[in-house]
């Protein structure tokens, strides 16, 4: 029986290792982690700045896009990385104290840290540029981001468990997730959508995470349809499913 201290050791060692394999291949590695979302945010800010006719009262466009792109990207990247956690690391399951769940946790933590950094860079940059830093709630902002990460982790865990049975999972789900960006209120406030459509939109738990982050960051932002318990329920159900799948998967894994 292993203690929680061992597990902490394992996750910490995996985290350092993941950082190295993910970014450390060349010197530009860490920079890439930031360049990619920068390009995204820059592109969409430019596009909506020139053509969009959105009314974002009291909100800076770049800051607004950031609060959409960063949690969305956190969800998608975490889900994708957690999904392939077993497949990419079967060699490590050789060590009896390393469990699939540890691989998933390490990857989720790394993604969260990277996106937190990107978010802080952009939101901080905008605040410096405007010369004012007026935040409704730090806790709300961070909780929104954490919800997005937890949604990605729990979804990734379910897919990771399923991927042991079929390699199609790893190909299918990222493709299915791609159009999700257009249904996640990434580029507009959820309240800007007409009532009937909005009810549909709010079925997507990721929208709640994104709205929560905005609600925390922008004073006076009205996320009237926000319900933090809704994404939390999704997370709990998917975690329950994912953890059970992981336990079964561990028995089925053939560790070469």
């Amino acid at each position: 029986m292993r203690g929680s201290l061992t597990q902490l050791n394992v996750v910490y060692a995996l985290l350092l290792r993941e950082t190295k394999t993910r970014f450390g291949v060349n010197q530009l590695g860490y920079l890439w982690a930031i360049i990619e979302p920068t390009l995204w945010i820059g592109m969409f800010a430019l596009f909506y700045g020139s053509y969009g006719h959105m009314s974002l009262p009291g909100m800076n466009l770049v800051a607004f896009i950031t609060t959409g792109i960063v949690p969305f990207s956190l969800f998608r990247e975490t889900a994708a990385r957690c999904m392939s956690a077993i497949a990419a690391n079967t060699g490590l399951l050789f060590y009896p104290q390393v469990r699939p769940i540890d691989l998933v946790i390490a990857r989720a933590v790394l993604e969260f840290a990277t996106h937190l950094l990107v978010g802080a860079l952009f939101l901080g940059g905008v605040a410096l540029y405007l010369g004012v830093l007026n935040i409704e709630s730090w806790l709300g902002t961070l909780s929104g981001l954490a919800l997005a990460g937890a949604l990605g982790t729990s979804f990734g865990l379910v897919c990771c468990g399923l991927s042991v049975y079929s390699s199609n999972v790893e190909r299918l789900f990222p493709t299915l997730l791609r159009p999700l960006i257009w249904f996640s209120a990434v580029f507009h406030p959820a309240e800007s959508v007409p009532k009937g459509l909005r009810d549909l939109l709010m079925l997507n738990p990721l929208v709640h995470a994104i709205e929560m982050m905005r609600n925390g960051w922008f004073p006076g932002y009205h996320a009237r349809s926000l319900d933090p318990w809704y994404p939390l329920a999704w997370i709990l159900v998917m975690l329950f499913l994912g953890l059970n799948l992981e336990r079964i998967a561990r028995r089925r894994l053939e560790i070469a």
């Binding site: 394992v10 490590l92 390393v98």
Partner: protein
């Protein structure tokens, strides 16, 4: 030091389930090096992985007293894109050992030269085996589980492996699986033969050899 109680393990195959271990019960005696002989595909590597805890048995219970190594062999355990030093650091951390000690010991033992700082995927299988063996020796275990690995390398390295085990013979024991009687003779006082899912135990290696050759 390790007790197996009715351990069974089967793998699904196209023609049905292949029973690799059929209700194996056995107590490994403490401070005794035990060899397990088996032909290719007899399930000896599976047995080793179950002893280590890398894989779970389908049924039965296993009790371990003292610390047990991972299955030391050619495959698994290293990430190809990282170099030997980084791999050593990782393993030292998950076993709670001193990172610098482990790296230093492994570097000296494995004799990889400049390759120590090259990605492991560039290694030959002999070099991988030397790294695997050196790394496992850098961490203190009560029982070392070895999968063939000592049979590789030149005679110099083989001698080094034997000496490393002799040095810690009072503290640690080794369980070696092999299809090669010579390896078992070099290391072990006792021997078991794995055949058709059953483990046949012999008090002397010679007896085991006769049984193994006849099968």
């Amino acid at each position: 030091m390790i007790d197996l109680d009715k351990i069974s393990k089967a793998y699904p195959t196209r023609t049905g389930s292949n029973l690799v271990l059929d209700s194996v019960s056995f107590s490994f005696p403490p401070h005794t090096n035990v060899g397990i002989l088996g032909k290719n595909g007899s399930g000896k590597s599976t047995l080793l992985r179950i002893l280590a805890g890398t894989e779970e048995a389908d049924s039965g219970t296993i009790r371990r007293r003292g610390t047990v190594s991972w299955p030391i062999g050619f495959s698994g355990g290293f990430s190809g894109s990282l170099n030997a030093e980084e791999n050593c650091r990782f393993v030292a951390r998950i076993y709670g050992a001193d990172v610098d000690d482990v790296v230093g010991f492994t570097m000296e033992f494995a004799e990889l030269g400049d390759y120590f700082y090259m990605p492991v995927k560039t290694y030959s299988s002999g070099m991988r085996a030397r790294l695997a063996f050196g790394l496992s020796m850098a961490i203190e275990f009560d029982a070392y589980l070895v999968d063939e690995v000592t049979a590789v390398g030149d005679s110099n390295f083989q001698l080094k492996c034997r000496k490393a085990f002799e040095e810690r013979s009072g503290r640690s024991s080794v369980i070696i699986v092999s299809h090669h009687i010579g390896t078992v003779k070099d290391y072990c006082q006792r021997c078991a033969v794995l055949q058709k899912g059953r483990l046949h135990y012999f008090d002397s290696v010679d007896e085991a050899e006769r049984f193994y050759e006849a099968a």
